[in-house]
Symmetry: C2
Subunit: 282 residues, 2 copies
């Protein structure tokens, strides 16, 4: 990248250098943590599975009572223009919609739409081969179907995750597993049924893609998953836009099966990578 090539953000209807993208402190995200967002991947300058992310962005906005100041078509045109300006081949694009500049610090005003694009770190082959260790924590997100900006619990738990030498934390509710702060959870039963929690989870786009891939080869169930199911599982993994399919080898200090990434997990990752590649070619 040339030194004079600026990275741009979209804010208040115009493109500004990211370093100059500021919100006034009366914004309801700062005052009250009130906002929604979505995040998609760009590979070779092309957005992946864009339709799904856009439609979820609008759904989250609706669930939180936030009108999106652009139509879907206008938003897509704006995204295309931003990508064209930034020319970041492999990156992530984040769209944030906040409650706007509130006069009294509580009542929503005209929402602020912010779009940023930044370089993205994806899991390395070594990380995939090693798998990740997770801990569990009792918690349910307030509005699981809405992708709100509220990650207080996830960030607050970072210290515990680190202290327990883990990589992430899986939420459960009385032993019923839901999701990670930023990823979905899957397991493979001893009978080779692929299972993912159905309730109180964000419907991840990668979750959706993996379910679609898996249905062609395995029995698949979206249902209640318990911590006890994990203790009995043959394989486990997380899915997200940035993590893709990442094997889980340890939960609360206990190995998942033999403590190694499972073959079905690794196969689904391969197939997801092919699917991403296909999107790019099409």
């Amino acid at each position: 990248m040339l030194s004079d090539h600026k990275n741009y953000a979209y804010l208040h209807g115009e493109f500004v250098p990211l370093e100059n993208a500021y919100l006034h402190v009366s914004d309801l995200s700062i005052q009250r943590g009130y906002g929604i967002f979505d995040f998609f991947k760009v590979q070779e300058e092309a957005p992946l599975f864009l339709e799904h992310y856009i439609s979820r962005f609008f759904q989250s906005a609706q669930l939180m009572g936030l009108p999106v100041p652009l139509s879907e078509e206008q938003l897509k045109a704006t995204l295309a223009e931003l990508l064209q300006k930034n020319k970041l081949p492999n990156s992530g694009v984040k769209m944030i919609l906040t409650g706007g500049y509130s006069a009294n610090g509580y009542d929503p005003a005209a929402p602020n739409l912010l779009i940023t694009q930044q370089a993205l770190t994806l899991p390395t082959q070594e990380q995939v081969a090693r798998g990740i260790k997770i801990i569990t924590h009792e918690y349910v997100r307030e509005l699981p179907l809405a992708k709100t900006i509220n990650y207080s619990m996830g960030i607050r738990l970072l210290q515990e995750v680190k202290a327990r030498q883990a990589d992430d934390v899986l939420y459960h509710h009385g032993g019923v597993v839901t999701e990670f702060p930023r990823s979905n959870f899957f397991l493979l039963t001893q009978d080779n049924v692929l299972v993912t929690p159905a309730q109180e989870v964000l419907l991840g786009v990668t979750r959706r893609n993996v379910l679609e891939l898996a249905r062609q080869q395995y029995q698949v169930q979206e249902r209640t998953v318990t911590l006890e199911d994990i203790a009995q599982a043959r394989e486990a993994f997380m899915t997200s836009t940035t993590k893709r399919v990442l094997p889980i080898v340890e939960v609360d200090g206990k190995p998942v099966n033999d403590g190694k990434p499972g073959p079905v997990t690794l196969q689904l990752l391969e197939q997801l990578l092919e699917l991403e590649q296909k999107q790019f070619i099409d």
Copy 2:
């Protein structure tokens, strides 16, 4: 106020005109709703019950793992300087501490401390005489003892509050009452016992002051309060820094007792006003 008299805010270690107080979009309040705050009243240019608010601010910060960049003494000196600059006799001061400018939009960085002071609207005599109508909603805040900036639920419920012609919404958990988004809840039983929820509530400074005043005259209990208790109550009211003691005359469409502000409620309000006045004189 003279037209050239600016209202100042404190941000990044300096005083800036409020209109110029901006945070970069990488701030974790914008990215992840991650921050805490506190809010106190200023009467005749003097802060009321400042010690309690400061100590709660530090407690919230600790609960969320956010180091406050100033010591208590430094913070007090900064507040005094801000009040001196702004000369807003009757106002509210808000201190917000966010997770800072995060490089990856998730991991906390050096926290940003923001302090603003703005004119304050307090309940009028007419509002007190009329009392307020409330609805109830099943919800528990994530970390009730921490005053985090997460008000997603409260703001999202504004539309329902309005649609049901109410003034506020009281949270409960399986019929066990906790608090309002920004206020505490009290009721007086038929036996003249003053009761307020003990668990899963923010420990309001006004709640504390009212409890202290009430203990001199009534039997007082901090305990479990249920929706059924409200149905049987003789009086009910909310407390907060800005609402002081505000009578509740209707809950979910049903009158509290005779549907009028109760004498004990109004007496406690009088005593709180006296206590505030005394602070100012001392």
